[in-house]
């Protein structure tokens, strides 16, 4: 059967991806807490800032171009 010699393209890509898995990384981040909870906490923290005048806050940030 010719089909059994066909390799799906995604599988070829997976092989590439395995090749590049790295051995070491710099100082790891603190991941003891769930990512979702941390993000929620931050959003709750700044909720009051976000609720008041978000549009005005954004509109007042106007720059001139640089290099």
């Amino acid at each position: 059967m010719p089909q059994q010699f066909e390799q799906p393209q995604s599988q070829t890509q997976e092989t590439h991806e395995d090749d590049v898995l790295a051995q070491s990384a710099p100082q790891s981040a603190d991941q003891s807490q769930d990512q979702s909870d941390v993000l929620d906490d931050i959003l709750n923290d700044i909720e009051s800032t976000l609720e008041t005048n978000a549009e005005e806050y954004v509109n007042s940030f106007v720059q001139k171009g640089g290099e």
């Binding site: 898995l21 990384a25 710099p26 100082q27 790891s28 979702s36 978000a54 720059q63 640089g66 290099e67």
Partner: protein, 575 residues
Amino acid sequence: MTVRRVMGTETEYAVSVKGAGRYNPVQLSFDVVSAAADKHSRNIRWDYRQEDPVNDARGMRLERANARPDMLTDAPQLNITNVIAPNGGRVYVDHAHPEYSAPETTDPFEAVKYDHAGNLLMQQACERARADTGQPIELHRNNVDGKGASWGTHENYMMNRAVPFDQVSRLMTLHFVTRQIYAGSGRVGLGERSETAGYQLSQRADYIHARVGLQTTFERPIINTRDESHSTDDCRRLHVIVGDANRMDVPQVLKLGTTSMLLWLLEHADEAGFDVSAFLDGLELADPVEAMHTVSHDLGLNAVLPLASGGETTAWLIQLKLRQAVYQVAALVNGTDTAGEPQWPDKPTTSVMAMWGQALADVAAIRHASDDERLNMTGEASRVEWLLKWQLLEKLRRKIVKGANVGRDIAGADDDVSVVSDVRSGTADAAYGWADPRLQVIDLKWAALDPEDSVFTKLVPRTERVNTSAEVTFAAAEPPENTRAWLRAMLVRRFGSEVAAVSWSRLTAREPETMNDDDSEEFYGNAGHMAAPDRRLFSLDISNPLAFDKAHCAKPMESAEHAIDLLKALAYGSR
């Protein structure tokens, strides 16, 4: 084969007044830069004589008459303020932005440390400027205002001038178009004026409109050809203008590290018998400018990029091939160990190559993940800045959309919140909620330099760091010891106002007896002209960035009574 070379960054900051509808960013820039000066550095001028902004790396000169006035940075200017930072870097006004140029460093980890030290120096200056002016001045480390303006974050690499510029240009085009997949800092809004709601990988991509050119403020090119080495004649400085103002460490190390490795490849390809031209021919993009925009807008991470040869590729595959080419040349030049790994000569190189591999693994994992899965990725988000920012924004977007639906009492609101898996939240096709100004506030607060105001500060513990906070604080106060930045910083610290002018490649001191003359403040201005007779000044050429480090200069520094004695001792070889 090493990642080590002389390199450094330049960061333009956004300056604004909190809550004010109108302000003058040019005046605010002067306020901040002026507040960065201390008693040592206040009167020292920047020496523009060596600046040559109209010299083009492609081997021609732009006629000065054809240059726009804002390109002529060596032209006389009133009121310009320059401050030599305590670490040997430079704080100055560039157009309508306060800018920090980090001192010269020799590897990507040091370069990132000194780049982030600039955040501390600029925030200190900003706080002093607040006190001086009574206005709540703010600085942001980003590149866009969402209303059409963009400003730069630049990388500089010293490289061997013998490499044909055409090769540099072609290889770097491939790299700069595709490195966004792991180096982008993320941006709310699509288009120069955020005309379309959505999210993209890079801050800077939408403002790039040309393949190659000298200009940096209009029709910005992927490859900037400004040829001003600030070094010896056998070197050129590759000046890179397409990068984002990252907050996270890892993307920044990657930008500096991978680019340096690819320059190394060009410098050693002949030696290894590696055919650069054939390699480049096979990967050349049909339209690199369009590809730059495509890659930045592609949250699916699999957009097809047409090749000049008629084939197709993706950003990820190009990055994979660039990394493989570095491996191939390194194995040929340096040999391999028993595991077949090229023998990397030092720790920074080993780390950068591992981090490059990790980055490609991260991007592959993100590509295969649904939006719900992406929201919970922790390892990848600790290294990929655009993903971490997206997570925060997407969380908020879902809350907003859910709230709006509940408010309107729409049945099945939860179903509307989750996103169909093949259309990524944040793309133009799935931009529901992305136009909400609250998301733009998050994007802005991500960039806020003031730790009190910054959402990024709260997420720092969730990111991988390459330098500790203590190391960054130290780097704000002390120069790198292994480049000429050490001499520049120490000369200013020790002799203060005896130093007349400073630049990247030259130091000028006054005869001490001329110090109290009425004209001593004026005779050496920013104009680049020397109004005083030469005998009252002495200039030392420090073009070689590695020749005036601590090891070479500490002893003469100790024994010199005046700045001019030190410069003469170094010039006439008593060291």
